[in-house]
Amino acid sequence: MTIAIHVKDLTRRFGELVAVDQISFDIEQGEIFGLLGPNGAGKTTTLSMLSTMLEPTSGTATVMGIDIAKDQDGVRKAIGIVFQDQSLDEELTAWENMDFHGRLYRIPKEIRLQRIDELLKLVELTDRRNDIVKTFSGGMRRRLEIARGLLHHPAVLFLDEPTLGLDPQTRNHLWQYIETLAREKNITIILTTHYMEEADRLCNRIAIIDHGKIIALDTPTRLKDSIGGDVVTIQSPDTARITTVLAAPWINRMETHDSEVILSLKNAEQHLSTIVTRLNEEKIPITSISVHKPTLEDVFLSFTGKTIREQDMSRRDSMRMHFRMMRH
């Protein structure tokens, strides 16, 4: 396998804030690689550096063997990008947006026209090709942007939060496109997301990123295995006593979180009655108890001590504080 993207100690500071903190990873060709993390974790900053939009403070990276600091145009030719915010000209038609892109990347006319037809067909926009983009729905715009990002046949496709703000049905549809793309075009895809199920479904490997650092990097399956079995969540007003009462060798890990105790154990169904019996004996009230297979959410929680949503919230608060301070 050849390496598509090589990142070594990549760092980006904005004044005092270290947005990306010495991250290193390799992405193999043909892989779908996910950067998973809450808002403000450094995903988009990483992507911006890899796509030469932002210069790193320190560290190095290559895309298809091309150094991002030394040959910006070389990198730009090798990559296609779908930005987090939409970047279409709404006054132009779908076809004209594609044509503009093709001309910017200096694709010869014949090839350009042929590829535009192919790609519009791939994203099922052929019959809307001559409509002004203003009339398009969010999902259609996203599909058009993906088609546009592929027009110059990039070796690597960057997708920054590709399904943000889309309804579940459209999201599902888009996932299918991305899977088809990776399979048929053998293209390397690096995507950022803060949707767990998106990362889980699409990615071959996932880097969980928080506070600018990669805290875990592996396949979704292995990440979930690291939890140590099924997850049992017990809600109770008396979490402190649960942890002492339930200490047993068949429980792999135990974490208290607000009014919940989260246990990881193998074959949870078999042990469930034991758990309930023990808690009843000690007269510990149980508000609810549930069992589920581990998800990336559990992985994130076990690595950071917070759910991704809580991280999102607290990050937003601290950002608001930050801006308030800057204003004063």
Binding site: D73, L88, D89, E90, E91, F100, L104, Y105, R106, R148
Partner: protein, 249 residues
């Protein structure tokens, strides 16, 4: 060149589709021409002009439509920033200079077309261009004014984050430039202390040049006008290109 053409092509497509903008930016100079021109025609002493006031006003109004359209076209980059489209252009493997030139040529073309539309309307109101060379001289000056002020708009837009400062620029930069240019009245009729300021206004030379082309009379030697406005166009393009290079996403 192909990239400049690509960006120009986009400007043209957008221009042709924005019917309301075409009509909107013609309306103001046309109304001024009709109201001021015919309204003041008998009041303004024609001896100092050597012609009817309304005909004196035509070149000024042509310059006005070129000026406002071109500044507006340049400033449109802010919209591209806000709608995200600028990213698509800036991330492509092309130089900033090509993008900036494309924008400038596109904006200038739009502005000149607007100016020509006004000129045609002025012919309907009685403008007579005595020799065809005059028309091309006027056209040349319109192109230079268009380039200058599109580049000016791009320079401004490169430093602005959103449209909130737009009104400020219009009121405190563009409108004074227009007012001092001698578009509405002969420079010689201003108080003497104002005259040097008028001569510092680059648009004065544009207006005078267009006036020379359309009516055959001007208060400033057309060669001087051509030199000054051409120099200004080059300078503005340079400044615009420099500031646009520094735009970050």
């Amino acid at each position: 060149m192909d990239i400049v053409y690509t960006i120009w092509l986009r400007s043209m497509k957008r221009y042709v589709r924005s019917k309301s903008r075409i009509v909107g930016s013609i309306a103001m100079p046309l109304f001024l021409l009709v109201f001021l021109g015919f309204g003041l025609n008998s009041v303004v002493s024609t001896t100092s002009l050597g012609q009817q006031y309304v005909m004196f006003l035509v070149p000024g109004m042509v310059a006005m439509s070129v000026l406002f359209t071109s500044v507006f076209s340049g400033i449109q980059i802010i919209w591209d920033k806000q709608f995200g489209f600028l990213k698509e252009t800036l991330i492509a493997p092309v130089s900033r200079l090509e993008i900036m030139f494309g924008q400038t040529v596109g904006g200038a073309t739009t502005a000149v077309v607007q100016g020509i539309i006004l000129m045609v309307l002025a012919v309907l109101l009685g403008l007579r261009i005595n020799n065809p060379i005059g028309f091309f001289i006027a056209l040349g000056f319109m192109v230079l004014v268009g380039i200058s002020f599109t580049a000016f708009g791009i320079a401004i837009a490169s430093r602005m984050e959103d449209m909130t400062g737009f009104q400020l620029i219009m009121n405190f930069v563009v409108f004074p430039l227009f007012g001092l240019s001698g578009a509405l009245f002969p420079i010689s009729s201003l108080p003497t202390w104002l005259e040097p300021i008028t001569l510092l206004d680059p648009l004065t030379y544009g207006v005078e040049g267009i006036r020379y082309g359309l009516t055959g009379v001007s208060q400033i030697n057309p060669l001087i006008s051509a030199a000054v406005i051409a120099g200004f166009a080059v300078a503005m393009t340079g400044i615009g290109a420099y500031l646009f290079r520094k735009v970050s996403l």
